[in-house]
């Protein structure tokens, strides 16, 4: 199987031979940070363009096509514009919190890049509680949103932030329970082990119908957690103009905007890892020949292919559905998703104990 392990290993060997143990560690940290920031920037550019193109195609129009071939440089141009724009701070705002909020949202998004397995043996931090880490850290993002809403000294921002708080706290539950179903099936919280456990087939196929239900609930819950339509109540533009980031402009707005897309990438990466096998190629049981052919496609292509498929699904939701009302949003969670996922978890536990899964 094609692997990036040889490259990473040779870099490590070269660094420790030339810089000593401490120097090598520092150099590796720098490389990782640079790579993370590069991924961050590239993802921002690609995802924003992808969203606009997907939206355009669904809305019988062309989308950006002026800057660069097929509009490929459009997001770069937009970013440039946002950088040179004036960053306004409203009168009466809590200046410290107002300026801090976008960075908190951003830092949370960056922290979540760490435990994701991008390819075979290509992972920043293979922590043994990887899934727990992701669920724990991802809920910190709401602090930034609440901070932004409160510090703006704007009624719309405040309403948006409060909605966002209620929403993320509720949807954490069903997202967590959906993740738990896979943890129960795998018996491990470590991302690399979860991926390895899908070497003979992805969990969405191996786990019968309960895994599919868990997958659907996971997609719905993470759509809500990332404040995407139809759950974008925190920034419902027809109701609250722009919700929690009404008062933000320039680069601070761009950070919120970027963090939203990075969050989508991360939740889709987690979904792909848990349900669709992460970087694991499509393997079916003991069909050696078939599995062997699938192994020729590099693992990073598998990973990004799955992630972008899930991202497309979430974008498809956004450009099709109307927005829910705030009470309907909570109804959906507490009356439908939570009972179903609790029952589903029970089923999965039974399957896992009896060993009915493939």
């Amino acid at each position: 199987m094609f692997s990036l392990k040889s490259i990473t290993d040779s870099i490590q060997v070269w660094l420790s031979a030339n810089l000593g143990a401490t120097g090598a560690l520092i150099a590796q940290c720098v490389i990782v940070i640079l790579l993370a920031i590069a991924l961050f920037a590239v993802l921002g550019l690609v995802l924003v363009l992808m969203e606009r193109k997907v939206a355009a195609r669904m809305q019988v129009r062309l989308g950006p096509n002026r800057v660069g071939p097929w509009g490929s440089m459009q997001t770069a141009a937009d970013t440039l514009k946002l950088i040179v724009k004036e960053g306004l701070t409203p009168d009466g705002a809590d200046k410290f919190l107002f300026n801090l909020a976008p960075y908190i949202v951003m830092i949370v998004a960056m922290l979540l890049l760490a435990p994701i397995a991008y390819a075979n043996n290509f992972q920043i931090w293979d922590i043994n509680i990887g899934v727990l880490y992701v669920t724990a850290v991802s809920s910190l993002g709401v602090i930034g949103i609440l901070m932004a809403g409160w510090a703006s000294n704007n009624n719309y921002s405040l309403l948006g932030a409060m909605r966002s708080g209620a929403q993320i706290v509720s949807y954490e539950l069903s997202a967590g329970l959906a993740i738990l179903t896979i943890v129960v099936l795998t018996g491990s919280l470590q991302i690399s082990e979860i991926v390895q456990s899908q070497a003979d087939g992805w969990w969405i196929f191996k786990g019968h119908i309960p895994a599919i239900i868990a997958f659907i609930i996971f997609i719905i819950a993470v759509t809500a957690e990332t404040n995407r339509a139809p759950f974008d109540l925190a920034e419902a533009e027809s109701e609250l103009t722009a919700g929690f980031h009404t008062e933000y402009s320039g680069m601070k707005f761009a950070l919120f905007f970027l963090a939203e897309y990075i969050n989508i990438f991360i939740v889709c990466a987690i979904g792909a890892t848990l349900f669709l096998g992460g970087w694991m190629p499509l393997h079916i049981g003991n069909w050696q020949a078939f599995n062997h052919i699938m192994d020729y496609i590099p693992s990073s292509v598998w990973f990004f292919g799955k992630v972008f498929f899930l991202i497309f699904l979430i974008m498809w939701f956004r450009w099709t559905f109307p927005r829910l009302r705030v009470d309907q949003l909570l109804n959906l969670e507490w009356k439908y998703l939570l009972p179903i996922s609790l029952f589903n978890l029970l089923l999965v536990t039974m399957i896992a104990i009896l060993g009915w899964h493939f």
């Binding site: 669904m58 129009r61 559905f321 179903i340």
Partner: protein
């Protein structure tokens, strides 16, 4: 029967959502349905309807002659004082004085393209043109004189 209602609720909701996604998915996979016109690029092929009211023009024939008698019917018909007809007196070879058009002043910036002037004109001297790209950098450029330099009234138009 609570459970049955609950499940049918969920089923119906999921079905209605999937129907919507099918529609948008259809358009996503069929780029031929795109209706966008790439306006400034398609200037050459862009054809406006012949009746489209873009501005008031005064057609002149090859002898630099128009059909305006200077009767000011258009000026009276205009609701916005867009048109100002300045007349002069031509002296015909017989020595008779005859009213004729001197300058046809047209304030494009005041015009609402209602077409009442064209409707009022007894000699069809003015009509609505198709040009709709009126943006200029200086507002005074919107003040236009419709009759050409040295033009005169066509023979036989009364």
């Amino acid at each position: 029967m609570f459970i049955k209602d609950y499940i049918s609720d969920v089923y119906k909701a999921a079905k209605s959502l999937l129907t919507g996604m099918k529609t948008t998915g259809y358009y996503f996979t069929h780029p031929k349905e795109i209706v966008t016109e790439q306006y400034p690029d398609n200037r050459d092929t862009l054809k406006m309807a012949e009746r489209f009211r873009g501005e008031v023009i005064m057609p002149h024939d090859e002898n630099n002659e128009h059909a305006c008698t200077g009767c000011t019917a258009c000026e009276l018909a205009c609701p916005n004082a867009t048109i100002k007809v300045i007349t002069k007196f031509d002296i015909s070879p017989e020595g008779k004085k005859k009213k004729a058009l001197d300058t046809f002043v047209y304030h494009l910036e005041l015009c609402t393209m209602c077409g009442l002037c064209v409707e009022a004109c007894p000699t069809s001297a003015i009509k609505m043109g198709n040009n709709f790209e009126h943006s200029v950098f200086d507002r005074s450029k919107l003040l236009k004189t419709l009759n050409n330099e040295g033009s005169k009234i066509r023979e036989g138009v009364e």
